[in-house]
């Protein structure tokens, strides 16, 4: 059994939260499906309570490859961040699929970051917007940020103390026809967890 701020969280609460995130990720996947005209296979979200150091280790365990990540910070009744993450190599397949003929007046890096940033923006808004609508709540978002780095570095310098407790919800997805896989990651900061559980209970 998980505990949040030393309070036990029941399996029923975790299941409700998992379903909520599943609905949000499903909406994000539906939007990605529309953008790419490709079927998206989703795995069941994994929920883990951890600190930021553990998160860095978890992401590093994905391998030593370079990752492309779009981060959308949100705040409202609770705060956190949503991330869409791909191996950089396969992210280019997505860019090529969406962009087709590249604009002549732009360099390759700008095309890549601009395209992935907009994919992340649309998908992550789908994820968080679904959750917000279920709660009849409202999130304010920051402008999405594109980050490309080695897996062990990608969560460094996020302005969150290493000992901060977070609830991590990670969903792996596969875009079958393009052979591209990636992760949708949501993390909720510790101050948000009690409120998140309360709101989930009230649905």
């Amino acid at each position: 059994m998980m505990t949040i701020h030393s309070k036990p969280v029941s399996d029923r609460q975790i299941e409700a939260l998992r379903e909520l995130i599943n609905i949000g990720v499903g909406k994000g996947a539906a939007i990605l499906n529309t953008m790419l005209s490709s079927h998206i296979v989703l795995q069941v979200p994994q929920l883990t309570l951890m600190d930021m150091e553990d998160l860095a280790a978890e992401i590093a365990a994905l391998g030593s490859e370079k990752l492309s990540m779009v981060a959308l910070k949100f705040d409202g009744e609770f705060s956190g961040s949503a991330e869409l993450m791909f191996p950089s190599e396969t992210a280019m397949t997505l860019v090529d699929t969406l962009v087709g003929e590249a604009p002549l007046d732009m360099d390759v890096d700008s095309i890549r970051s601009g395209t992935l940033c907009e994919i992340g923006n649309v998908v992550l808004n789908g994820v968080m917007g679904s959750i917000s609508n279920i709660f009849s709540s409202h999130f304010n978002y920051s402008v999405p940020e594109y980050i490309e780095d080695l897996s062990e570095n990608i969560f460094l310098d996020r302005g969150v103390a290493p000992q901060t407790t977070i609830l991590l919800a990670k969903t792996r997805f596969l875009i079958e026809t393009l052979d591209v896989d990636g992760d949708i990651i949501l993390f909720f900061e510790s101050g948000a967890l009690d409120r998140l559980m309360e709101m989930t209970e009230a649905i």
Partner: protein, 119 residues
């Protein structure tokens, strides 16, 4: 044929929307954020504005607020990734003539543009 101002920080979205609007026979001018967009409203006198919400420099809510304060009569259609019901309500309360989500469906976009232009 009308002149549409497209305000969005994503070149990918501007390219997509611009193509759809041009296919309708309209002229498109583009701005990459709200600040530049408001300047173009003054200088270019567009017939309709397509507006994103989440942008650097000046977001779409601020654009809507300033347009309302200036008694703007140009119809504004919000086109955003934000699917929150509250975002839609807020935009309509600020005077937006329509609201659609990214990626926009071509028929929906055309229908809204045709409606606000009174064609």
């Amino acid at each position: 044929m009308a002149k549409l101002l497209l305000i969005d920080d994503s070149w990918l979205t501007r390219r997509g929307l611009s193509g759809m609007v041009s296919d309708m026979g309209h002229t498109v001018i583009e701005a990459e954020n709200g600040k530049v967009g408001l300047e173009m409203v003054k200088n270019e006198n567009p017939d309709c504005i397509l507006l994103d919400l989440l942008m650097p420099e000046m977001d779409g809510y601020e654009v809507l607020t300033r347009l309302a304060a200036s008694k703007n009569q140009i119809p504004v259609l919000v086109c955003t990734a934000d699917i929150q019901n509250t975002a839609r309500q807020k935009c309509l309360a600020l005077g937006a003539a329509g609201f659609l989500n990214k990626p926009p469906k071509e028929e929906e976009l055309k229908g809204l543009i045709t409606k606000v232009l009174g064609e």
